[in-house]
Symmetry: C2
Subunit: 152 residues, 2 copies
DNA sequence: GGTCAAAGCTTGAGTTACTGAAGCACTCGG
DNA sequence: CCGAGTGCTTCAGTAACTCAAGCTTTGACC
């Protein structure tokens, strides 16, 4: 712990630790807000992933899990009235998940109630916000595996 | 979307979206690396939380879940030989989870194999690393709910 | 046009994660 | 000693997740 207060560049391990801690704390804030509205974190995450209509299979890709798993999650969202399955024009195999108005409202409410996250943002300067946002934007394609340009 | 390339300060919603995307991508990289070693993400997360010996109850706090849940997770880690339960000196109710040498090795291997994350770090400048690390450090106490100073 | 591989979704079996309530073992204050 | 409280486990019960198998539909190939 050599506490030089000058700007020493953090090691990868330190960065990873910091990122993991922030990611975990963010996720807990998210899960807690979702739970207040009777949603599990998986359901809320799925709801956030269908702000645009998305076929089941693509949703599985976004959530990083098996397609068979998505069936159950969407079943529950549907029974809660937060999303619907619609037939795809042109391919009758495909079912497209569409968020309902109520689903969109709950989603917005959840995001608005993530108080720790909002507090964290308020604790940041404008420069920090700009820096964080630009770092995220730059790093996301790499982190999400969309390197090069062979998209899709 | 006025795309002025000058530094416009992102809204809270934009920041939240960016943070969520990066957090999710990081987590998937982590889960994939853990899966390659036969661990679920919960198990790997728990393993990372016991680099220092931790009582069961405190571990539940770190993982943000019920204590009864931790019983099962540690059961599985123990049966894999990655952690052990030890009696606490001074209070025979308490069981302390201690990582084994093998557990530590697997943990290090998992962290080393998070290739997307490492790629992402390599894509950052020193200034960006410093900025990201300092933002995380500043924001974490707020985000994790340790405001004020009632630390315990 | 018929056939067949492949794609998209669901179902079923089986494991893990998670919660809440109840239970046991232990501690600590009276 | 007794009783309240703490720490861990056990027991239902649900959700999340995976893999394999099944069904429908599509599209290519003969």
């Amino acid at each position: 712990m050599g506490s030089t207060s000058t700007t020493t560049v953090p090691t990868n391990a330190e960065l990873m630790e910091a990122l993991a801690a922030v990611g975990a704390a963010y996720f807990q804030d998210f899960a807690a807000a979702a739970a207040r509205h009777g949603l599990s974190s998986s359901q809320a995450k799925a709801l956030g992933a269908v702000q645009e209509p998305v076929p089941m299979r693509a949703l599985a890709g976004r959530l990083g899990c098996d397609a068979s798993n998505v069936t159950g999650i969407v079943d529950r969202l549907e029974s809660l009235g937060l999303a619907n399955r619609e037939a795809a024009a042109g391919d009758r195999r495909v079912k497209i998940v569409v968020i309902t108005d109520e689903g969109r409202e709950i989603l917005n409410r959840i995001r608005g109630e993530m108080s720790r996250t909002h507090q964290a943002f308020e604790a940041m300067t404008d420069e920090q916000r700009v820096a964080l946002h630009s770092i995220c934007a730059q790093v996301l394609p790499v982190l999400a595996g969309r390197t090069g340009g062979v998209q899709q």
